[in-house]
């Protein structure tokens, strides 16, 4: 059983129905540790040693956050700037993260259509997240296709939220149990689209 670390970054959890539901799902899973960064560091004063220790103890890193200006909220970026340190995450002695998968779980305000070549943003979500992907690669991590929650604010009203939460639950459980095909997940443009292909059913896993 792999240990999954979910770093959750949202400055206004009180306004996010989707993230609250996703957090609750993550918390309910054994072996998944969820860290609410804005709760832990309301003053942005990140304890580097402590965070690096967390990473050392984890096998899989999940970054869960809303999309702010095609990127993550400031505290998560600050966290990366400080914790992914020379001699820890990269450099000749920096091998702490090598080989560990990294998954981004992002709630988007806009509809799926915007994140298309011909869409409003002219880029796939994964393309927009290329700085994260590059960071992961720089640290020898395996960057998985992002898990996107589109039109997140309407998800509940449109009765999509339960399905999304179930999917998220499946992804985390599969990561924990090692039943997620990392190679396929890394190759896809968006994880949501390929869930049934990358996650083995219990029967398949047994075979």
């Amino acid at each position: 059983m792999a240990r999954v670390l979910v770093l959750f970054a949202h400055p206004r959890t009180d306004r996010s129905v989707a993230n609250t539901a996703l957090v609750a799902a993550a918390r309910s899973i054994d072996g998944v540790e969820l860290v609410d960064l804005y709760a832990e560091y309301p003053d942005f004063d990140i304890d580097i040693d402590r965070e690096q220790q967390r990473l050392l103890e984890a096998d899989i890193l999940v970054l869960q956050h809303p999309v702010y200006w095609y990127s993550c909220p400031a505290l998560l970026k600050e966290w990366l700037d400080l914790v992914f340190e020379h001699g820890f995450a990269y450099g000749s002695e920096g091998t702490a993260l090598a080989g560990k998968p990294m998954l981004q779980v992002a709630t988007c305000g806009t509809a799926r259509e915007a994140y298309k070549k011909r869409g409003k943003y002219q880029n796939e979500l994964r393309t927009l997240f290329s700085p994260f992907e590059q960071t992961a690669k720089f640290c020898d991590m395996t960057y998985l296709a992002p898990f996107g929650v589109f039109s997140a604010e309407d998800a509940k009203d449109e009765k999509r939220l339960d399905g999304i939460v179930t999917d998220y639950h499946r992804v985390l459980t599969a990561l924990r149990d090692g039943t997620l095909d990392l190679e396929k997940a890394a190759a896809a443009p968006l994880l949501n689209d390929v869930l049934d292909e990358v996650i083995a059913t219990p029967e398949q896993a047994a075979v």
Binding site: D45, D47, I48, D49, D81, L82, H86, Y90, F138
Partner: protein
Amino acid sequence: MGFFQDAFIYLLAAVIAVTVSHRLGLGSVLGYLFAGIAIGPVLGVVAGAETETVKHFAEFGVVIMLFLIGLELEPQMIWRMRWQLLGLGGLQVTLTTATLTAAAMAAGFAWQTALVIGMTLALSSTAIVLQTLNEKGWMRSRGGQSSFSVLLFQDIAVIPMLALLPLLAVGDPAAMAAGNAGHQGSMLDGFPGWFQTLVIVATIAFIILSGRFLVRPAFRLIAASQMRELFTAAALLIVVSTALLMDLVGVSAALGAFLAGVVLSTSEYRHAIESDIEPFKGLLLGLFFISVGAGIDFGLLFSEFFLIIGIALGIILVKALVLLALAGIFRLPWQDTWMFGLGLAQAGEFAFVLFGFAGSSGAIAGSLVEILILSVAVTMLLTPLLFILFERYVLPRTVSTTNREADEIPEPGTVVIAGVGRVGQIIARLLMAENYKIVVLDHDPNLVERMRQTGVHSYYGDATRPDLLEAAGLGEAEVLVAALDDQDQQTALVRHVAEHFPKCRIVARAFDRHHLYELEKAGAHAIEREAFEGALMLGRRTLRELGLHPFRAEQKVRAFRRHDMQTVDVLREYWGGAVGKKYLTAVRERLDELMQVMRSDRLAGKNLPDREWTPPRGEDAER
């Protein structure tokens, strides 16, 4: 030679007596009085006649004091006090005068003489009372404010009394004429009443206008010259000249100085003037008290001992009863009632003037004047003792158990805040702004009153009393904010609540690290050292003023804070209820470590010169 010798004696006596009396907790007034008694009647190193001169000189101390009080009082403040001034002050003077006059008539004096005695003894000692209230820091309490109102009214009342005295003379016309000649000199004597009034009004107007339009520009010029002693001289000049002016038109000099102070209270030089003049006040008042002590005629005191003591006690008793009754009518809190009643029960320094005047104008027989003046001195001598009585017996009782019933608390709050001093007030505001239902408890009725006026649900009561906590709804409250000023009471409160209301979270203000440990043991859930964050912010500001980049300064503060939080954890086990040797060694070690941390910019481990915010560089990419 004579001057130096006198100065030496007065100063030496003052220094010794006041130091000793301070050590004994008796306050400076009693010290000065005893210094006077020592050098006057006891040792006889200063003679009687000369103390008279000194006294006149020293009365200037009272004048300066009133000037300083005026300086502290802005005109609107006096306007707000107007009912208290007229009501409390007016009633005190009339009732006390009436009672004492009746008593004197019962003792067989003519009504005129009795009235003079009654009026004169109705006045209290501005010098003693205000000096004591200031010294003890009670000036801002309701008792202090009420006392001040009464004293101010009395000072005003002196004017009509002086006017009335000659009319009450029952002695022979010759003495009366001599008295009038000796009257310290209004140049307006002999003019018709309406003209006198007109001149007085004009003078007051002149003082107010010149304060506004003459004194301020003058001070600006003087301040620009940057000569400190010139500024002091100018400040003194204002006091002296207003006093002189008022004296000339026959109004109390002290009142004139008070007026000048009020006029200048809104000026930008107020604080500078205040700090320049303050030392003069202290010394001159000291001199005044010394001269009162030195002027006591022990020969007469011993020969008429029981009569004088009897009169003195009688004066105190009557005045105290009237004052207590007034305090009751005006609904002063219990503690303030006693401060008011005991504090103003003496006769004042104006009695020396008025009785002297009454004696010379023939309103009272000379031998009686001697005895009355001595009685007045005795009441003044007893005043500090009355204040001590108040401090020892009334004050402690008000903290733990009081006669005032704790307020009814109509609806419980989500948060109970115990203590609304500097700390609790801020928390109360924050929570109120966030729309939480709060209940505020404090055992200082004045504070509660003030908080109420600003719209905070505050209730009077002792937060360390279990029944009150119950009534405040601690059973349902989610959080108690313990912010009492007293360290031990604070710990006791936390312990009690932790034991009896286990569901309530306790947020506590600690005074320092040791108190933090105590509160932890007592069961508080969240504790902050009250001055810690504030001090860090000041430290950050200091670093910035020293030229450090604001964000670097912030980082330094963060590193310090982090280390200090760890220090709290590390030292906890060494503490064990007191500061021991091991604890001190550990503190020392932590301090050494702190210096390393702050200087190397990092906490532990890797040998990186600059650990934070160092993203990959070119060479990193090429591994």
